[in-house]
Every structure is written in structure tokens, then in C-alpha cells.
Amino acid sequence: MSIGGGKTISGAVQALTFTRRATVIGGLQASIGVLLAGRMAYISVAENERYQLLSESNRVNLTLVPPRRGWLIDRNGKPIANNKTDFRVDLIPDRMQDKDKTVATLARLLSLDQEEIDRINKELEQATSFQPVQVATGLDWESFAAVSVRLPDLPGVSPRQGFSRFYPTGAAVGHLVGYVGIASAEDYKENPDPILVTPGYKIGKDGLEKTFEDRLQGKPGAKRVEVTARGKIVRELDSRPDIPGKAMQMTLDIDLQEYAARRLGPESGSVVVMDCKTGDILAMTSMPSFDPNSFSDGIGQTEYGMLRDDDHVPLRDKSLKGLFPPGSTIKPMVSLALLRGGIDPEETVSCPGGLRVGNRFFNCHSTHGTVNMKRANAQSCDTYFYKMALRIGYDAIALMARELGLGAKYDLPVASQSYGTVPDTQWIKKRHDREWENFDTVNSAIGQGFFLSNPLQLCVMAARMASGRNLEAKLLLEQDRPAASPLDISPEHLSFVREAMSEVVNGAGTARRARLPLDNIKLGGKTGTAQVVSLKYGRGGRDVPWKFRDHGLFVCFAPVENPRYAASVVIQHGGGSSSAYPVARDVMTFLYDREKAMKKLVAMEESWGGTISERMDRQLAAYRAQKELEKAIAEGRVAPPQTEANGEDSAAEVGQ
């Protein structure tokens, strides 16, 4: 069978064929050789630059070094927020290979609890590739080293030695200072700076940390290192140190701030203290609060849940965003308006326990008999103010209120302020589309009705009355500030009112227990009790459920003769002003005699169950146990308790 077309092939022909075909093969081989040489020349000469670049970017890894954040210091140079050296471990989701295994290994090495593992897994799921996920911070050297030596088996794990934000006074500065945190995906989209996604880099998320972000953040350092394909650093090529952020000096006295926070104890409330000479805010605290250290480290689910569920709203800054009816604390202010309106302070009013206006009877909290202006302030007689306010009209009072800083938004480096309402005839038209009525005057004259203020405003009001100057609240300490201009109020009127406020504490007044336990220094003040619900629940004292209790307020200044400090205290649902003025008394005492004030506080804290952090830890443990139990009941592992818990009781428990 032939396939070759019948040609006869001899050995000689075959030899010839071989030679010819071998030459062909040699030629083919040579041309492949030329092709290879050409290809190589193309890659290494024509494309040399490109590949050199790629090779360099393989070899060299530019790591940014997060800058140390500028400190926040108080007026005496004590740290409000500083940085502590920190060993931390982060995950770079992009570079991870076996996520579950890596997380499991880390959990073992760092003994993370289940909640932490859940958080990490959740964040890993949500994180876009470039965002680092924090595993743990504040590690000791041993755990840090344990992770570091296993790096080759843990791709995507980034252990670092860096700095983390530290707030020495913890919860005491929570609302004011805010906290720092990892930049969000939105932040990065807005400003795609690689430093934002560098592990350990935090930006201010709230409060002063957020407002002063630009000045506090500093300039990142950089390190160029040679790395292997597996991410092992071979050597450092060069580095540029970071430039730490600028320190910012605040007007606060951090010791006073902490004292005030601690003194509030288990109550929900606010203390604001101002310097009457300059307007410097010496303390502005709102409790209960959150520990900014927890937030800055990435807060746990449970802890956040506890803060969110607490009816004492630890997440809201009551000093700036809590609005309360100022109640009787505005009576000295109203008195100033009356004096300017031509009312003779010696004119008396008879208080039979209230006043009939139109067809409604407005109660006074007591039957005061014959009262003049001074006695009306000392005894906080509502009837006097009902009557006198009706005589001069409310707009004159509203004008005075604004002059003293109520209803105003201050120029402060804070994220937001709620500035409340100073009602008047125009406001009611605009807001409620009706005419101002006499009962509005009556209600507003004693700081009820539409009147709403935040605790800082009440403090500014007290400070302006005490100093007679148009003080502006300040948080940022400035050295040479011009003195505030005097108020457009007669000095005689002011001294009369200060005298009346001294009477409240030192004479026959409503806050005699607020007298300072000091020689030579007298406190002047005014109590206030703001109703929360109508009187059918009783007077809103301590015998009704917490959320129906009256707010307790107190504004004050000291010393009476030459005012130096002004303060306001608001206790939410404190059950009346008696909850507020002891706090004011002790905070004021602290300014003059720290030892005496501390002694008192330590004794009180013992009865409350420890310091703020001890109580918060206990609360967290209780909350966690409670959640565990609820979960167990929901999953049917545990039988529900026999007697159903009273909702109000359990609400009160959380507040303890």
C-alpha cells in the first residue's frame, strides 16, 4: 500500500532527503533562536523602563507612619488627651488568604473572646479591601511578639508598634472631647490619602477631636522598606520621621472637670463652671457618659448596646444638647428685667398660693404671704413673678434673657449645640401662629412653658449676672484676650440681684444647704425645679418613677462680693432643685479647697459603689449577663423568670 504517489525510494534518495530536511530543521531552530533573542531584546531594552518600575514597586514598600496626635491639655498644662505607646495588630483584608484560619490563629495567640472575634469577622465582611480591620490594641510585648514571629504564615496580618489615643480621665471628658476612630470608607472616598487607611491612623470623630482635627493630626512619617514577596521586611531603606500634631490648650481645669463628673454620681445631669473674669469654661461635664478610650479602641457591640439602651442617655451631651425648662433659675434674670422696667424692688405682692389669670388659676408651690423682690427670689415665689411679669410684658423679659445669653448659640469649637427657646410675642406668631396670651407670660416668667435652655446657657447667664460683663463662653485658651464689654444693665440692679441670690443660700432662702463649708467665701445662687409632667403624678419628687420626676436645677456664683466663678447644675429627673445645689456647692468648694471637697466625694462614691469606671464596668457586666440571659431565653435554653419584671423598675436599675 502506497501513500507516496508510487515513487520508488532508494537509500541514496533517502540520504539526500535527510540532508535536505535536516537543513530545514536547522534553519527552523536558528530562526526560533533569533526570535527568542529578539523577544528578549524587546523586553529588556524597549520595555526596560516599565519593567524596572514594576520591579522597584515589587521590592520597595512605602509604609506611612501615622503621626502622633497633638495633645489636648488643660489650662494648667495637664493632659486631657495624650498618646500612649501601643502594640497593635491589624488585618489588611486585601492580603489575607485564609480568613477563617488567620482569625482563628490570632484569636488563639491573643486570647480574644467570642465577641471580639464576631466583631472582627463582621468588620472583615464589610471592609473594603483597602481598609484595615483592627484586631487588638494595647497588647503586651509577649502577645505582640507571638504574632510577629508567625507573620510568614499569616498573610494580611500587620503587627505594629505605634501610639494610641489616651484620655486619662476617661468618661469625665467623653462628650466634650469626643473620640478618635478609623477613617470611614466615605472619608477615604472624599480624600483618598493613603494615610487614612494606614493601620493605627485615627481621625477625630466627635467633639474637640473632630473640631481640631486639622491642627491635632500632624504629618505622617514614611518608611521605605525592602520586602520579600511574602511581605517580610528585609531592611529599611530610608525613613522620614512623623511631625506630631500641635498641642491645644483648653480653658478646662481637668481636675475640676473630673471632680464634677464624679460628683454627679449615679445621676443623669450636667455641671458647667465658668470663669467670671474671662468667660473660660473651666468644666463642662455631662453624665453618664461614655469612655472615649473604649470608643477610640473600637467599641464592642455589647458596650455600645448598653450605652444606647440606657435611659440616662450617656451618648447625648446634656451640657450642650440637653434642653431643659430653666424653671425658677431665671428669676434673678426676670428681676433684672423688672428693675429695668421700673418696678420698685420694695413693692410687695401678696401670695395666697397662686394667681388667677383669666379663668385659670396658676399655682405657686407654697403660700408665701407678703413678698418683695428680694424675698420673692429667696423663697422663689411664683405669684410675685406672675404678677410683675404681667405688668411689664414678656418682651422686656425676653430681651433681658437674650442679653444674658439665653437662647443663643455660642462660638465654640463643638460639633453642635441645641440653643433652645426664649419665647416672646413674635416667636409665638412665627412658630405657633397665634397671639401671645397672658398665660404665656405667666408660664414663661417662671421658666416653664415654651422656655428651654441648655445647661451651658444657664451658666453663661449666671456668669454675666455675676460679672456684669458680656462674657463669651470660651473653650480654647487664649492668652491676651480683651476684657468683655460691660452689660447694658445698671450696676445697682446687678448688685441688688446678686444680693438676692446670696439670700437664697445664705439667708432665708430655698438653698440654705448650699452654703459653702468655707470661711469668708459666700455662694450666691438660685434654685429651679422644672416640671416634667402635669401635677396629677404629684410634685414630681423622689417618690414617683424616675422618668416622671422633676428636673433639678441650680445656677450660682462665688464669692458673692467679687464673683470669680459661676456654675450651673442640672440634674435630669433629679426630683427637684435639692438634687442640684449640693452638687454645685461641692464643685464650688473644690475650687477653693480641693482636699475638703475630695474627702466628701470619696465618702459618697463608696455609697454609690465606686468610681465612675468601676461602676461602668459593673454596669457592663450586668448588661452582658442580662443579654446572655435574654438570648438564652429566646433560644429556649433557660426558662423565663416566673414573675414578670416591671418595666419601670428595670429602667431604674439600669441607671444605678
Binding site: 500500500m1 502506497s2 501513500i3 507516496g4 504517489g5 515513487k7 520508488t8 525510494i9 532508494s10 537509500g11 534518495v13 533517502q14 540520504a15 532527503t17 535527510f18 540532508t19 530536511r21 535536516a22 530543521i25 536547522g26 531552530q29 536558528a30 526560533i32 533562536g33 526570535l35 527568542l36 533573542a37 523577544r39 528578549m40 531584546a41 523586553i43 529588556s44 531594552v45 520595555e47 526596560n48 516599565r50 519593567y51 524596572q52 514594576l54 520591579s55 522597584e56 515589587n58 521590592r59 525592602e226 520586602v227 520579600t228 514577596a229 511574602r230 528585609v234
Partner: protein
């Protein structure tokens, strides 16, 4: 030759040995650098192996043509049995299996098949009467000779070696004088079958290698990683290279398999285009010698065997270099004399040894045909 040198030594093909020594020596230098400036673990072993296999090749060079003719088929059968053995052990052990552990040495029978198939096919066309070269009788035995080893190696699975074995045999058949139209038709058939084979015949990982080769930048961290990093190594070397021991791609582990399949990239990064051209020139001298041996050979078996063996080495070089330069998919074929690896070096030195034997005993014209 000098009288002081004994005749047996003077008769050795010194030019060829020198060329091999230079190339393996360069391999030593490159592997020394690949290990970060260390003789261990690769460079030293590489040189020891080379010297051992060079000794083996010199021994082979003393053996005459008749010996190689005589063992051509028996060796082929033994290697097929070894391939079968690998398959059976693999079936028992599970997974892909290429090694046969004989206790004292681990052999890769698919490597041995490369010279074995050349000898067998050469011997077949040597035996085939000249008049039958254009008949079916010249084709079906070739197909039979190829069928067993190719099927067994494909089963391993080892596409690269299968192609080398197939190509070696085809080269011998081509040189033996099978009608040209078969090869042209075959090439056309391959052009048609390739896409079909790609989609239905290749394993998933083989398919990925091919698609990656076509566009390595698509998946620079996955399957395209090898090719991308290899090209970066070669490209960043430039004309004169980064200098001995200064390669970063290899030393920082970016280049995978920098001491075996991608040794050329390791070399090129440090020695640049100059080093690459030198290596190509070395191979050029080797293949010129190899084909020269075939041309000078006087008997048909010698001619076919020499050309086939030379071409087998050529396939190693060509496929490997095309692979590292991104002209061919990653198929796992080492570069002769430079790559670290015992099995392939043994195969290449067997080919060299037989080539030296044919060079030494070109035979007498017509001796076999008579």
C-alpha cells in the same frame, strides 16, 4: 595532539566537553546567586550531578552504534513498563504521580522516554526498507510506538513532556522521509483540533495556564503571576543586568521557581541581555554540533538518532525560553544546564552521551544499507 597526553584522553571530544562545562558552570553561578550567594542547596549539587552525568556521557561515547541499535527497542519497552508502574503506584497513592522510587534513586520515567522514543523510532525507520517509506507501513508502527507512552504521560498528567515526546518522534519521522504532505496536512489538522482539544481535552489547570499565557496581566496575582514576574525580572535586567548577586526579583522571592523552570529569568535579571545572548549563543553552538553530528553520520540509524536527540534538547530550550519570555504557556519544562533538577539533566546528558558516541563512531557509508 600532544604526545604527553594518553590517546584515550586526547580522543575525547574536548571542544564539546568544554562547551558543556562552560554552560553548566554558568548554571552554577546563576544557582549560586539564586540561593542568595550560597553553594547550597542548589549550585553545588548541580555541579556534582553534572560531573557525574558527564562521566556517564563519556562512558556512553565509547559505545558503538550497534550497541545503541541493539538496546533501542528493549529500552523503549522497559521505560513503557516504568511509566505503567508510575501510573499504578499513583493510582494506589492517589493524586498525580511522576516519580518512580526505586529505593536508591527516584526516576521520572517520562523524562527517560524522551531519548528512548528517539532511539526506538530511529531504529524503526532504520529497519524499514527504503521502498516502504511512503507506505502505510511506515506510519502505523510509528503511531503504535507513540500511543502507549503518550497516553501514559498524558494520564500523569504532564502535557509538556507529552508534547516533547511527540515532537521528538515526529522530527525523526520527518527526517526519515515520510511524505511532506503528511506534515503539512498534520499541521492543518492541529490548527483545527487545537481549539477543540483546548475546551474538551485539557484539565482545568491546563486551560487556565493557556488563557493566562495569552493575557497574564489579567490575573497578575493568580495564575499569571509566574509569567508576569518572569517578564519583570528579564525586563528590569536591561542590557547589562543588575549585577551578580543583585537580582531583587529572585532574592526577594517575587520570581517563583527561580532556580528551576524560571532560572533564565534569574540569570537575565543579573546578567541582562548580554547574559541572555551568551546563553543563546552557547545553545547555538550545541545544536550546530548536534546537527553536525547527524550530518556527518554515515548510517541511517546514526543520522536519525543524532538529529532526533539534538532536537529533543532543542525542544527543552525553545519551550522553556518561550515560556519565561511570555511566548508560551507555563508547561513546566526546565532549561538544560542551567535549571536545577536531576531527572532532566540525566535525560539531557544521555542525549549528549549518545550524540558523542555517534560523533566518535560515524559508521561507514552503506554499512547498514548493504
Amino acid at each position: 595532539m600532544n604526545d604527553f597526553i594518553p590517546a584515550p584522553i586526547a580522543q575525547l571530544p574536548w571542544k564539546t566537553i568544554l562547551l558543556l562545562l562552560v554552560m553548566a558552570g554558568f548554571g552554577f553561578v546563576v544557582l549560586y546567586s539564586a540561593a542568595g550567594g550560597s553553594v547550597t542547596p542548589w549550585a553545588g549539587l548541580h555541579m556534582v550531578r553534572f560531573m557525574v552525568f558527564l562521566g556517564m556521557a563519556i562512558v556512553f561515547s565509547r559505545l558503538k552504534e550497534n550497541f545503541w541499535k541493539a538496546i533501542a527497542f528493549p529500552v523503549y519497552i522497559v521505560v513503557v513498563i516504568m511509566l505503567l508502574g508510575v501510573e499504578l503506584i499513583g493510582a494506589v497513592g492517589g493524586g498525580s504521580q511522576r516519580w518512580l522510587n526505586l529505593g536508591f534513586i527516584r526516576i521520572q520515567p517520562s523524562e527517560l522516554m524522551k531519548p528512548a522514543i528517539i532511539l526506538a523510532v530511529a531504529r524503526f525507520y532504520d529497519l524499514l526498507p527504503a521502498g516502504q517509506i511512503r507506505t502505510w507501513g511506515a506510519i502505523w508502527p510509528l503511531l503504535m510506538l507513540l500511543a502507549f507512552p503518550c497516553a501514559l504521560i498524558l494520564l500523569q498528567p504532564d502535557l509538556g513532556t507529552t508534547i516533547t515526546v511527540l515532537a521528538g518522534a515526529m522530527t525523526v519521522a520527518f527526517l526519515a522521509g515520510l511524505p511532506m504532505r503528511l506534515f503539512i496536512g498534520g499541521a492543518a489538522a492541529i490548527a483545527v483540533i487545537t481549539p477543540i482539544a483546548f475546551f474538551f481535552g485539557l484539565e482545568d489547570y491546563q486551560q487556565r495556564r493557556v488563557t493566562t499565557f495569552l493575557n497574564p496581566e489579567n490575573d497578575p496575582l493568580g495564575a499569571g503571576y509566574h509569567i508576569s514576574q518572569s517578564k519583570i525580572a528579564i525586563g528590569s535586567g536591561g542590557i547589562f543586568g543588575k549585577g551578580f548577586l543583585n537580582g531583587t526579583q529572585s532574592h526577594l522571592d517575587y520570581l517563583p521557581e527561580g532556580h528551576t523552570d524560571f532560572v533564565f529569568a534569574t540569570m537575565a535579571e543579573e546578567w541582562g541581555l548580554m547574559g541572555g545572548v551568551a546563553v543563546l549563543f552557547g545553545f547555538f553552538l550545541l545544536f550546530r554540533w548536534g546537527l553536525g553530528v547527524a550530518m556527518r553520520a554515515k548510517t541511517r540509524f546514526s543520522q536519525l538518532a543524532a538529529a532526533g536527540l539534538s532536537t529533543t534538547i532543542f525542544f527543552y530550550v525553545a519551550i522553556n525560553l518561550m515560556m519565561v519570555m511570555g511566548l508560551a504557556p507555563v508547561v513546566g519544562i526546565p532549561l538544560p544546564f542551567l535549571s536545577h533538577g536531576g531527572s532532566s539533566m540525566m535525560t539531557i546528558m544521555i542525549c549528549i552521551g549518545i550524540l558523542m558516541a555517534i560523533d566518535r563512531h560515524p559508521g561507514r557509508r552503506g554499512g547498514t544499507f548493504g
